[in-house]
Symmetry: C2
Subunit: 142 residues, 2 copies
Amino acid sequence: MSRRVLEQMDVADCLELLGGVSLGRVVYTEKALPAIRPVNHVLDDGAVIIRSHLGGALATAVGSGRGTVVAYEADAIDPIEHVGWSVVVTGVAHLVADSREVARYERLLRPWVEIAMDCVIRIEPRLVTGYRLVEAAEVGTG
Amino acid sequence: MSRRVLEQMDVADCLELLGGVSLGRVVYTEKALPAIRPVNHVLDDGAVIIRSHLGGALATAVGSGRGTVVAYEADAIDPIEHVGWSVVVTGVAHLVADSREVARYERLLRPWVEIAMDCVIRIEPRLVTGYRLVEAAEVGTG
């Protein structure tokens, strides 16, 4: 297989790719340990919206005080061809409290797993990074 | 779409699924913030082996002192059908220092991206959890 290199993407490309998929992974801290969980998401006005079980570790961390810093990652990488992309958003996660906003997000975003009591979490991006994994250009061609 | 539920898997099933794929995501702490990066892996005697850029944030965190606690996640979830699985390993990550071990892992595990100087990291699982996302059994059938 020819060489692969990472090409950094700009923020607009990152958010476009992230908005084009429905599944990602939220990364947070649980009892001082790194934790990660796959969830589905929507993008709304540049923010990542997810739903989570109220009372779970993530909701508890997010709900305490001024929110909590999380990362949110999505990728699409071909395990055979070794090409694709990954995007990581780092930002502050807050519980969405406004009942009209909650109702709107509950229409936009259906959890894939039935959860009895849940909450809506908004992640406001502070840092958006992403890379494409591409075939290296050969010197002297193209 | 019919209901989906999460079924917890036992450790053996988790490790079998993790060992059957080549791509996952390492979750660590960088400058006190949650960080995540897709990497390829192999399983060796129950441990997760990855390679990373020496001098990068992950290698620096792992190399300091007694290693560092990380999470490692892999999943395969169908975004249309909403079925699949995810596995999370939490454990202590160490730099592999023994040169014969390093040489063996460098044969077993080729990084997908060309990296000039790299190191081998072994994650010894302390906690292995995983779930299947499956169609809920209908009451009174099957």
